[in-house]
Amino acid sequence: MDELYWDWDYTKEILPDLLDALHITINATLIGSLIALILGLVFALLRRSKYKIISKSTGFIIEFVRSTPLLVQIYFLYYVFPDYGVDMSPFMTGVIAIALHYAAYMSEVYRTGIEGIDNGQWEASIALNLSPYRTYKDVIIPQAIPPVIPALGNYIVAMFKETPQLSAITVLEMMQMAKILGSENFRYLEPFTIVGLLFLLISLVAAFCIKKVEKALPKNGIALK
């Protein structure tokens, strides 16, 4: 077995390409999480709608997205969008698929946050005659979101770890780059291992930061000024 060694020259050769691809992976995660954070909140609020048809159908969509594979959802958008005249780059299509998938998960996080708000806060808003819009914007959301920030952060890390699936629709993120480099040089050991280590490193750092944030947040709701 002459393959059984780590080739440092090869490592030096492929590292720049992999780091370039890391940019795309990170961009996908950042854009995707931005969309997911907003969309997740929208889902959570729609789910609380007083119109049964809206709350029920939002609930069904969330359940459906959560229990079907992200890969199939990515394929679905990638192959079906063009049939309806929506022309987007594979990158954007993939990012939207991931964002939709995680918005469904995040909406549940927001929901726990909102449900954790004391009833008195709702009653006080009614007593002050606040509109539903102002109740959410000024009273509920500012209290509901800080406690769930760590949970949202965990989903962003999870999302980061799902980006390799974008390689299935030819997005040139790290996994796709590793596959290309591996097949060009007939050596998969170094590219796949480096990509794995980069993922591990970033996830561990992110998890550490989330723990710090968790500690910095007050335990029971936020302190009122």
Binding site: S67, P69, V80, M175, L200
Partner: protein
């Protein structure tokens, strides 16, 4: 072609998906307990190995792990067929998540239960087997149910290492018929139905187990 023409192939794929899900679920359940208990062991070496396993598999991406097992292991002289690689890859990945569930559930068992087992002079093995784990198991079930769904969804990835499961069969059919929207919609619906079936089973199992545990406590 109509939906009825697609169904036989898709159902074949769904059958493979189910097999892989069940096999890797069993593997990950075993690993969850080994690593979860190892994580709270007093022995430094065991604890370190468990932590390394958990952090490594939770920290990297499941697709990379699958590729690594399938394409890189042969470099070390270990060549696995795609099916085995899939089951091992999924089992190892979900096992690392399950380990944290086991640890969390065991930690949440009331301190008094440990003290009682100590007072009754139980061996450590008996304490875990007869007192702690049966109680912790009930609270493990809902998160395990969620991970079973995660596992089911992750099986779609093994299509990328050439296993003819549901997603793979769907893509093949699309290459033949170009009926993209219909087939992908069908795929999503089939996955959704399997997931609903799994969560129904887990919920009724949880109800039964809880009733049994309550009866035991009531009867002393």
């Amino acid at each position: 072609m109509t939906i009825l023409d697609f169904l036989p192939n898709l159902l074949n794929g769904a059958w493979v998906t189910l097999q892989i899900t069940v096999l890797s679920a069993i593997l990950s359940l075993i690993l969850s307990f080994i690593a979860g208990l190892g994580r709270i062991s007093n022995v430094f070496l065991i604890r370190s190995i468990a932590i390394a396993y958990i952090e490594f598999f939770r920290g990297t991406s499941i697709l990379i792990q699958l590729y690594w097992i399938y394409f890189v292991m042969p470099f070390f002289g270990i060549t696995l067929d795609a099916y085995t690689a899939a089951v091992i890859g999924l089992g190892l990945n979900l096992g690392s998540y399950g380990a944290e569930v086991v640890r969390g559930a065991i930690n949440s068992v009331d301190k008094g239960q440990y003290e009682a087992a100590l007072a009754l002079n139980f061996t450590k093995f008996d304490m875990y087997k007869r007192v702690i784990i049966p109680q912790a198991f009930v609270s493990m079930l809902p998160p395990f149910g969620n991970y079973l769904i995660e596992l089911l969804k992750a099986t779609s990835l093994v299509s990328l290492i050439t296993i003819a499961e549901l997603t793979y069969e769907g893509k093949l059919l699309i290459d033949q018929t170009m009926q993209t929207a219909e087939i992908f919609t069908l795929l999503l619906i089939i996955y959704f139905l399997i997931a609903q079936f799994f969560s129904y089973c887990i919920k009724s199992f949880e109800r039964k187990l809880r009733a049994k545990l309550d009866r035991k406590v009531a009867n002393g």
